[in-house]
Amino acid sequence: MTGKEQLFATLRHEVTERASWVPFAGVHAGALIGADATQVLTDEDTLFKSLMEVNRLYRPDGQPVVFDLQLEAEILGCDLAWAKDGPPSVASHPLADTMTVPCKCKLPKPNQGRLPLVLSVMRRMKEAVGETTALYGLICGPFTLASHLRGNDLFMDMYDDEDYVNDLLAFCTECGKLMSDYFIEAGMDVIAVVDPLVSQISTSHFEDFLSGPYTELFDHIRSKGVFSSFFVCGDAARNIEAMCQTSPDSVSVDENVDIITAKAITDKYDVVIGGNIPLTSIMLHGTQQDNMKYAVDLLAQLPEYKNFILAPGCDMPYAVPVENTIGVAQAALETESVRKMVENYISDTFNIDVQLPDYEHLERPLVEVCTLDSATCAACTYMMGAAVAAKERFGTEIDMVEYKFTEKENIVRFKMMGVKSLPSIYINGQLKFSSVIPSSEELDAAIKEML
């Protein structure tokens, strides 16, 4: 079963053998190849290359092709403020001083703004990995798009002029339908409507203003034969039921929502729920073990793998350590073995006598590859592959060994060595490469230093 088939089975509400896994690597994708956020979102080749690296290292069942809620706003006249380590922000609101609705003639066309770049990368990703990975096209939700255009006054307009808000939302819904069409035509399998501001309004406001537009949007996406998802950020717990009533195939929530409680609601509507690994405390600032533990603990709360997608709470911060996502990926793909690893790591009770090599007096350079398990973890496979290739080049000039975290002895060994993240390569006891796979030149140079 490919990752794509796995995710499709989940979205068809089938029981699966493991949980589906969708890493929301937006600008973070750039971090994998040393590109900054602006480059990722403005340069076609950089975006493509970054996404391919996400696919290679994190082995996703599904992945977003671009995570930028400002794409439509930019075309519709909002100025953007760009950042090196995050998506751009909207810096001006064209309707801030005028309570008007733009002409439909202004709706985005495929040749405007950054759409040519995005659509081209979608086609290239479809060609490159589309057989095995489900691709997500993300559009800006009508409410957030309306606030991009109108600014914060939109909230007061909900009291002052309901008709205006309805008209503006109708325009933004049309925009969403058009963007969906473009993305579906470019090969996207899932259209995710991302509307973080939904968490900032009451359920009655959601029902008054957004139930109609969202139902229309999801009906439209369904009529085109692809799956849909409704992404929110923040404490949207109270609105989950109203969101389900608009009939998306799935919803996605962040750590502000108790996902198990929310799942009881989404299950009632047979809607898939995805989430909600904490972005900052766990993914950005936690260790690899924290990430694996969080993921397996979350999965342990599910009676079966049905209607659930393991995913970060929202767009991953740019600087999430690669090994943390690798840890989550491994927890999703090899849940039972990671559960054992984490248990062993925490219990710390086994009394195994491990002798570290005498690094000071080695006969030849010793390359030690520390992995979660090179047989099942993609990043570990590549790291191990790099070491094996080096061993072939250097022959008897070096020694090379793999230590798998799945073995208790190696948990003791890693603690003694001070190994913080996997996969990594140590040469003569010194950490040389962590998480990011070295090129053959880099690895050879590091070995030669020790010869």
Binding site: A81, A83, S89, M156, M158, L279, S281, A319
Partner: protein, 214 residues
């Protein structure tokens, strides 16, 4: 007299700006002091809104319309308050940190703080650490309050703490931090004084800090 002040409070809670304005004018005409109208009418109403916001009973739109109603009322009272011996409960300089343009949360904090009778200098968004400190120093603020929505900008808050130290005013101001990715642990780590999870709690904490420093 109590009934008109209650009416002001209740209409404010429902965001009825025009009604609040009319009622405040009526109260003034009845000879009720500006101080009483402010504290027992407008601020009392805003306090209820703050509590409900904290408890997830009302949300951003409800707070914004309530704050607008409060501002309509206070505009009428301002010329009278000066002669009424009403002093502000403290002075806060507030802004969203450099590199961050998000202002909904920051605006809510401002409204809630004003609803507690605090004077707030709003520096807007994308505020350099030195700017907070400069204004706090020149204006005699007891509190610097920084907001951040992005994980990438929250680190800049530490520079505010450092800038306050460098300017020699660290012992004269309390530094408050907040925003979606910010936590109490982070607040402690950067050496700031107070983290709060929502706008209403921020206002409560600011008032407490100002009273403790008075």
């Amino acid at each position: 007299m109590m009934s008109i002040l209650n009416d002001i409070s209740e209409n404010l809670q429902r965001g009825k700006a025009k009604v609040v304005k009319e009622l405040v004018q009526q109260a003034i005409d009845q000879g009720i002091s500006a101080k009483e109208i402010l504290e027992d009418g407008l601020l009392a109403g805003m306090s209820v809104v703050g509590e409900k916001f904290k408890n997830n009973e009302v949300f951003v739109p409800e707070v914004l319309v309530a704050a607008r109603a409060m501002n309509m009322g206070t505009a009428l009272l301002k010329p009278l308050l000066a002669g009424d011996g009403v002093e502000s409960h403290g002075k806060v300089v507030l802004g969203t940190i450099k590199g961050d343009l998000h202002d909904i949360g920051k605006n809510l904090v401002k409204m809630m703080m004003e609803g507690k009778g605090l004077e707030v200098i709003d520096l807007g968004t994308d505020v350099a650490p030195e700017k907070y400190v400069e204004v706090a120093k020149n204006e005699g603020c007891q509190i610097i309050a920084c907001s951040s929505l992005l994980t990438t900008t929250m680190g800049m808050m530490e520079d505010v703490v450092k800038a306050a130290e460098a300017a020699g005013i660290r012992d004269q101001v309390k530094i408050m931090v907040g925003g979606a990715p910010v936590t109490d642990e982070f607040c402690k780590k950067i050496g700031a004084d107070k983290y709060t999870a929502d706008a209403a709690s921020a206002a409560d904490a600011a008032l407490e800090l100002c009273e403790a420093m008075a």
